[in-house]
Structures are given as structure tokens and as C-alpha cells.
């Protein structure tokens, strides 16, 4: 029986690693510039086969599910905060002299990892919040 007063420790690294890996797999399976992705499979193979259609609908379902879960947990504030964190880490890297500002290229890979980071943190945050402050993210009955 799940009791609300039990607060077991959470392995944050493993928690985020698993969800981040899941999000990265999903985002990169949909599109990545290397040429091996669902996008390339569909656009370069001629006619759309039923199997491609099936995989596409399945990917869309997974992306909608993960995106919605992540967005419901962290919201606009979380997305903005994470994006700020990414940008500020770039600026801090420049400021501390790790690389020059001219070397920073916002490539497609960078944007894809950024999206995967947002989804990974979004799906992990509820566990972190439950552990540190005991608050659960609860969904209301849909209207």
C-alpha cells in the first residue's frame, strides 16, 4: 500500500539519466541530421508504406505523451529557466575562457539535445519535488 508519508531516497543521477536517455532516443529517432532517422526514412524512401505510417503514429503518440508530461510538470517557467541555464552556461564558458564566443555554433544537434534536456528534466522534476518538498504533481479529472 502506497502511503503518502513515506519519503524514500531517490537516486537523482540514475533518475535523470534514464529519462534523459529516453527523451534523447525519442527526439533523435524522430529527426537528426546524420541521415538515419524517421524523417529521412520517410522522405527518402518514395511512397509511404503502412509500416512507416504505423511507426509515425506511434512516434507522434510517444512525443505527445512525453511533451505533455514534461510541460505539465515544469511549465513555461521551467522551459524558460532551463533555456536560460543552457544559454548562461555557454556565456559562462566564454567568460571563464573555455572557448571563444566565435566558436559557439548553435547546431541542429545542440537544439535537439536542448529539447531532450527539457523533456528529460520535465519528466524527472516531479520525483525531485516529491523527494525534497513532499508535494505531488496531481492531474485533475479532465472536463
Amino acid at each position: 500500500m502506497a502511503r503518502l508519508d513515506i519519503n524514500p531516497p531517490v537516486d537523482f543521477v540514475r533518475l535523470f539519466a534514464r529519462r534523459g536517455l529516453m527523451a534523447t532516443t525519442l527526439v533523435f529517432a524522430t529527426y537528426n541530421p546524420s541521415g538515419y532517422s524517421y524523417f529521412h526514412w520517410v522522405t527518402q524512401g518514395g511512397d509511404l508504406t503502412t509500416f512507416q505510417f504505423f511507426v509515425g503514429v506511434g512516434l507522434l503518440t510517444c512525443l505527445v505523451a512525453f511533451g505533455r508530461m514534461a510541460f505539465l510538470t515544469i511549465g513555461y517557467f521551467g522551459v524558460t529557466a532551463l533555456s536560460l541555464l543552457v544559454i548562461m552556461s555557454l556565456i559562462a564558458g566564454v567568460g571563464l575562457g573555455f572557448f571563444a564566443f566565435d566558436d559557439v555554433h548553435i547546431t541542429t544537434y545542440f537544439v535537439l539535445f536542448w529539447i531532450a534536456l527539457v523533456i528529460g528534466v520535465g519528466t524527472s522534476w516531479s520525483f525531485v519535488q516529491k523527494r525534497i518538498s513532499g508535494e505531488r504533481d496531481v492531474l485533475r479529472t479532465p472536463p
Binding site: A2, P8, R19, T49, T50, F51, F53, F54, V57, G58, L60, T61, V64, A65, F66, M69, A70, L72, T73, G122, T123, S124, W125, S126, F127, Q129, K130, R136, D137, V138, L139, R140, T141, P142, P143
Partner: protein, 140 residues
């Protein structure tokens, strides 16, 4: 602590299949066949009918609550396109109307199974909790 795993998903899938196919299937041995082709035992038929109705209502309401209309639509599209793959590759012959009905019923059972599993899966994946507001009279 018990985590929701593949075994639990399989149990819900089998229960959904048993519920849907037990109520009606195009071959034999279903509640529908029992009430249309056999006479007598009216009280038992009504009892089983009410029981099946309750189980269907429970499955439909929990699917509506946890998946919502968008989720049900997306999952139905996924399962239907999976069936389409099987049809295209000659593994499923829907020219037979009984097979066609059977396919639709299996898709319905899969949606029931997803509806009964998704709140658990969501809690395990993202830590979010689905809830029912019992003080507010929601339509579902």
C-alpha cells in the same frame, strides 16, 4: 514497493481482451451468443449482463480519465495502423467480416488496457499522479 511493470500491463491487456471478447465476439462463446441462442436462466443472464456493464463502465471511465479524448484518438490511430500493417502484409484477412469485427474488438480491448495502465505508467515515468475529484461532479 511494487512498481508497475510489463506483467501488470499484460494482466490488464488480458483482462481487457477477456471483457471485450466475453461480451461479444463474432465466433462463439460470448455473452451475446448466450442470450440470443440459448433460452432459460434469465436471472443469471441479467446478473452477468449487469456485471459486464459495470466492468465496461469502469474501463471506459478510467480510459477517459487517464487518456482523455486526444490520448484515446492517438492510441486508436496507433493500434489501427498496426492492424493496417498486418493487413497489408497478408497476415490478417479482413475480407472476412468476422475477422474485421474481431480486429475492431481487439483494438477496443487494447485501448481499455492502455486506459487502465496509463495512470500507472505516467506515475512511473514522470511522477505525476492522476486523480479523480470526488467532490466535483465531473461528467467522467
Amino acid at each position: 514497493m511494487h512498481e508497475f511493470g510489463p506483467v501488470d500491463l499484460l494482466a490488464r491487456l488480458l483482462s481487457g481482451l477477456a471483457l471485450v471478447l466475453g461480451t461479444y465476439n463474432p465466433y462463439a462463446m460470448s455473452y451475446f451468443h448466450w442470450i440470443t441462442e440459448h433460452s432459460g436462466n434469465v436471472s443469471a443472464k441479467i446478473l452477468v449482463g449487469v456485471l459486464l456493464l459495470i466492468l465496461h463502465v469502469v474501463a471506459i471511465l478510467s480510459s477517459m480519465r487517464s487518456l482523455g479524448l486526444i490520448g484515446i484518438g492517438l492510441l486508436t490511430a496507433t493500434f489501427a495502423s498496426g492492424a493496417w500493417v498486418l493487413i497489408e502484409n497478408g497476415l490478417l484477412h479482413v475480407e472476412d467480416p468476422r475477422v474485421f469485427t474481431f480486429t475492431l474488438l481487439v483494438i477496443l480491448a487494447c485501448v481499455y488496457a492502455s486506459g487502465l495502465s496509463w495512470s500507472h505508467l505516467r506515475n512511473r515515468l514522470s511522477g505525476q499522479v492522476d486523480s479523480t475529484d470526488v467532490t466535483f461532479n465531473s461528467p467522467v
